[in-house]
Symmetry: C2
Subunit: 230 residues, 2 copies
């Protein structure tokens, strides 16, 4: 089933115009080209992508179901960025999902995956010392994805990955906090240790806090931005 899904995705990239458009639209919303609340005009977008309204509507509906766009019947499609409250909620769920992954992974993780985790962590550390935030970000993601996968639950891995992707643009912003990368590294070490010991409760706890703190930092960031605006 996994393989089949990959094949679908692969084919769809090549064959169905609607899918390509969905991906591109997603990018345009992520990078802020379309601001929150903006109406997405079907005909304008259709001619922009050089297609008719039919595949474009399909792409919009896909985004609507993933929550990035709100489709109001007979009114149109509007960009829907999560507000501060919803964002905090999503971070909280992210923390719970990762905690669940960690709990299960503690019981199921393979030795080779533990090695991969340590390798990713080492590269992470190197990136921190090199002040290479892009590289840090990439390795950090690899670290977490290994844990999702080692939960041994494909469905959980899928759901967690989905939310991870959705939170990506927001997570990035809080990385710049002073000392955050170093602290994060220490937390990674603790997580690996817990997994190595097969200590489910500790893996769950450390992971939950590790992710939850991102949400809190983000909260602080939002508050400071809001204060600055007043």
């Amino acid at each position: 089933m996994h393989r089949r899904h990959l094949v679908i995705h692969f084919l769809s990239m090549e064959t169905r115009r609607a899918d390509q458009i969905a991906v591109q639209l997603e990018e345009l919303i992520f990078d802020g080209t379309f601001v929150d609340g903006q109406r997405l005009d079907e005909v304008r977008l259709a001619e922009h992508f050089g297609v008719s309204r039919t595949p474009l509507r399909e792409a919009l509906q896909r985004l609507a179901l993933s929550g990035m766009v709100e489709m109001i019947p007979r009114r149109g499609a509007f960009v829907q960025q999560p507000g501060p409250v919803q964002l905090m909620e999503m971070f909280e769920v992210m923390a719970e999902l990762e905690a669940a992954c960690g709990r299960l992974a503690a019981m199921r993780i393979t030795d080779s995956a533990l090695g991969d985790l340590r390798a990713a962590n080492a590269k992470c550390l190197a990136a921190v010392e090199a002040r290479d935030s892009d590289s840090y970000y990439a390795e950090n993601e690899r670290f977490h994805r290994i844990i999702y996968q080692q939960s041994g639950n494909g469905f959980l891995e899928q759901e967690t990955s989905k939310l991870h992707k959705r939170l990506k643009p927001f997570r990035r912003k809080q990385l710049r906090f002073r000392g955050r990368m170093a602290q994060s590294m220490a937390e990674h070490e603790a997580i690996v240790a817990a997994l190595e010991d097969g200590d489910a409760a500790r893996a769950e706890d450390t992971l939950r806090k590790h992710v939850a703190v991102q949400g809190e930092k983000f909260h602080i960031l939002m508050a400071s931005l809001k204060r600055a605006a007043e």
Copy 2:
């Protein structure tokens, strides 16, 4: 935002044909009219619903994104019932999500919600004694939904509800285990007690086990069915 969503849903029920069809198709897949792996012919379904292919395709895509249908480019749409493995995975995630709801609810639940829980539980008990499995089922669902809601996290509530709904047709099957309803009732009591005490860890644990056991019972059921078939 909640209200806005409700309005959308309400309007869509009236105005957009595609949405109604999506709901009806969902029903047809749930109740087994369309068996697993069956190809869903667009033209046949279109004329069955008395619409053109356009809204029908939109409905299919919606089901595809919710995972009930698999759309293979240039090949068609096929019913995709979760297999035993994926089902177990989904039950496991359900257990983790409900555990998360319980953990958060233990810290946030209101007194009136605690009262609602006890009320639902009482009706549950009455249903058990009356051997009224339908009523038991309804009140059981109410019980769990209250906990989702009392997590105080709208996003978590939404995601948990989504999976709950998806697992509904499978959960039902394992209710008939001898003594399961009584055991389930005892577990409910323990859950309420944990929530009442504001004991997050206990609420998390009891809820996880309460849901996980459903998956296990289901597993046993599947195994026995498989054995009977051989």
